[in-house]
Amino acid sequence: MKIHIPTPLRTYTGGQETVTVSGTTVNGALEQLTTTYPELKSNLFTADGKLRSFVNVYLNDDDIRYLPEKEAAPTNENDELTIIPSIAGGCCL
């Protein structure tokens, strides 16, 4: 399956926008990704292994946080994972 990497994290994938992995779950796919590109790990996960709060991961068009199985959701080779950091802000208090 394909994992799409956002612009800022391509520094850690040798500039690749899309990485192909063979995991059968979201977790498995992300694990394979961070095994291949270890520097990605601290950018995606906290020290205790949780996905950072500002990192969104979509399985096709679904936010994995809202899937029944969450990170354990099964995947197949035609699925696409997209990693997308959040965008927010505002002018003042």
Partner: protein, 157 residues
């Protein structure tokens, strides 16, 4: 440095005027030029999901970002930055802007909109290697007027 055509520059400022007194937001598509900033080829308007406090907050729904990134990929472009407006506040990044900024290397464009009129547009590039050392750096904006003139000439022909 951030490079963009005059039409895109005007479009992102006009967006801020349209949504006044609320904040607008959108995405800059283009290419990052190694050591030479970001070159914008297109801007994409996005919805502000912070309807609870849209006058001083913005948020782009992640699924909208996923779709914009997908569209960019289809056009051979990347997400190279974002823009938003500061209604009746300076075109400077705020502590909230900084805390919520995570796209290292990208340009964050802010337009101050005073009484409904776009005034100043500034750009800040988020640099660093991660959350621990990220910093906003002032970034110059280069506006390509040649494209506008060329389009005008085509229109006159």
């Amino acid at each position: 440095m951030l490079r963009l055509d005059y039409a895109e520059y005007e479009a992102l400022r006009a967006h801020g005027e349209e949504t006044y007194p609320n904040e607008c937001c959108g995405v800059l598509l283009g290419k990052s030029e190694s050591g030479n900033g970001n070159h914008v080829s297109a801007i994409v308007r996005a919805g502000n999901t912070r309807t609870d406090s849209a006058h001083n907050r913005y948020n782009i729904a992640p699924i909208e970002l996923v779709r914009i990134q997908r569209e960019a990929r289809g056009r051979g472009l990347d997400i190279v930055g974002f823009y938003h407006s500061h209604p009746d506040h300076p075109a400077q990044w705020s502590p909230t802007d900084f805390a919520e900024a995570h796209w290292l290397g990208c340009s964050y464009v802010i337009t101050s909109v005073e009484q409904g009129k776009a005034v100043l547009t500034n750009s800040f590039q988020l640099l660093g290697t991660g959350e621990d050392d990220k910093q906003f750096h002032d970034e110059s904006i280069e506006i390509n007027l040649a494209a506008t003139k060329a389009q005008a000439q085509e229109g006159n022909e």
